[in-house]
């Protein structure tokens, strides 16, 4: 076999090309990383109320009222609900510093999310919205678009687990009794120009993404300091 040798000049230019690609690659990642960081935008905290009807957790008179627009099938929302939200509940909500109101924002890309919103709304009828909320996010991979074409059968199991009266829940789900409520919540998200889920409105800041507890707390502190009350859209039910 004829051994091929690399001429020094060709070798130099080849190494040069690799160095250029490496430098451009690192610079591109750094640039994209900077552009992709979660950035809060300032919004009017007194946006007029719409026809939405969220689910509140915490004291409705808490100094900082937070709105979350979430999609039950969104993995980022699932990550926030299972990883960050427990800390928020124990450290901020249970201590009376904040109240969090959840509004459905079912995204078009998620086929089974409407069924989840419907299941949760029907659980709210029996005062167990948050139990269903938590169970749906914990079991997201069991009922999402990739997992099944019959998500309601999986959610039926959750309804039993959390102790709902099944006949009432089932008829509520079958009738899609709360479809207007879910549509109203979604319309509120679109009206506020929400681009992704989860998105939080904390004081006068609109914050997209599954942010960490520390980042969340910083926004809460800032909102508390500014004492800028957020007017929740229409009414929020403590169910």
């Amino acid at each position: 076999m004829a051994k091929q040798t690399v001429k020094p000049s060709k070798s130099g230019s080849f190494v040069g090309i690799l160095v250029v690609i490496a430098v451009v690659g690192i610079a591109a990642i750094a640039y994209l990383a900077n552009g992709k960081a979660s950035k809060a935008v300032t919004v009017d905290p007194n946006v007029p109320a719409g026809a939405a009807f969220g689910y509140i957790r915490g004291d409705s008179t808490a100094p900082v009222q937070i709105i979350e627009f979430g999609d039950f099938e969104c993995p980022s929302c699932g990550q926030f609900a299972t990883v960050t939200e427990p800390d928020i509940r124990s450290r901020l909500i249970a201590t009376g510093q904040v109240a969090l109101t959840f509004y459905d924002f079912p995204l078009d890309m998620h086929r089974n999310t409407w069924a989840a919103s419907n299941s949760a709304a029907c659980a709210a009828d029996q005062g167990k919205f948050w139990e269903m909320h938590d169970r749906l996010f914990e079991g997201q991979n069991e009922w999402n678009t990739q997992a099944t074409k019959d998500p309601v059968s999986v959610m039926k199991g959750y309804a039993k687990e959390i102790g709902l009266e099944m006949s009432k829940w089932q008829s509520c789900v079958d009738e899609a009794k709360h479809l207007d409520r879910i549509k109203g919540n979604r319309a509120e998200a679109l009206r506020r120009n929400i681009q992704s889920t989860p998105t939080f409105i904390i004081g006068d800041k609109m914050v997209p993404g599954a942010i960490t507890y520390d980042a969340f707390k910083a926004y809460v502190d800032s909102a508390a300091a500014a004492k800028a009350p957020v007017k929740a859209p229409a009414k929020a039910a403590a169910k």
Binding site: F14, L18, A28, A33
Partner: protein
């Protein structure tokens, strides 16, 4: 630029592409959120991981291995460059199959297309073609 150099250069570019997607998937770049973008849908789907690792991380390892093999072959750092050419052909051939499967998943199951994944699939195909041509050159030599 000869074929081995082209393989090394394209693999290095692919490595950075896959590294970016891996860092995004792991949450080191930006904050995970579900938007209407196809990449987010694809990355956050249940097929975003393979054997416990993000698919993009497997891609980064693949590109790194291809780049290393091409550089070793170029600088004659191994006794048998032909063996390396065979290895590059096998790796990139497997890459074409894997990318094809991922693209099918995007179209048929996830119903979203990630443009970075498409670029990567094209890159893998080009690497396969170059590897086959390099192997033929080795045989003729």
């Amino acid at each position: 630029m000869n074929k081995r150099q082209a393989i090394a250069a394209l693999s290095l570019a692919g490595f950075f592409l896959a590294t970016y997607l891996t860092l995004y998937k792991l949450g080191y770049i930006g904050t995970l959120a579900c938007g209407t973008g196809g990449c987010e849908t694809v990355q956050l789907s249940k097929w975003g991981d393979f054997l416990g690792m993000p698919v993009a991380a497997w891609g980064a390892l693949f590109y790194l291995a291809m780049c290393a093999a091409a550089i070793c072959a170029e600088f004659q750092w191994v006794a048998s460059p032909r063996l390396l050419s065979r290895a590059m052909t096998l790796m990139s051939g497997w890459g074409v199959i894997f990318s094809g499967w991922l693209t099918w998943l995007e179209l048929a199951r996830i119903h979203a297309i990630c443009r970075y994944c498409v670029v990567s699939a094209v890159l893998v195909f080009v690497l396969f073609v170059l590897s086959v041509l390099e192997l033929r050159t080795q045989r003729e030599g």
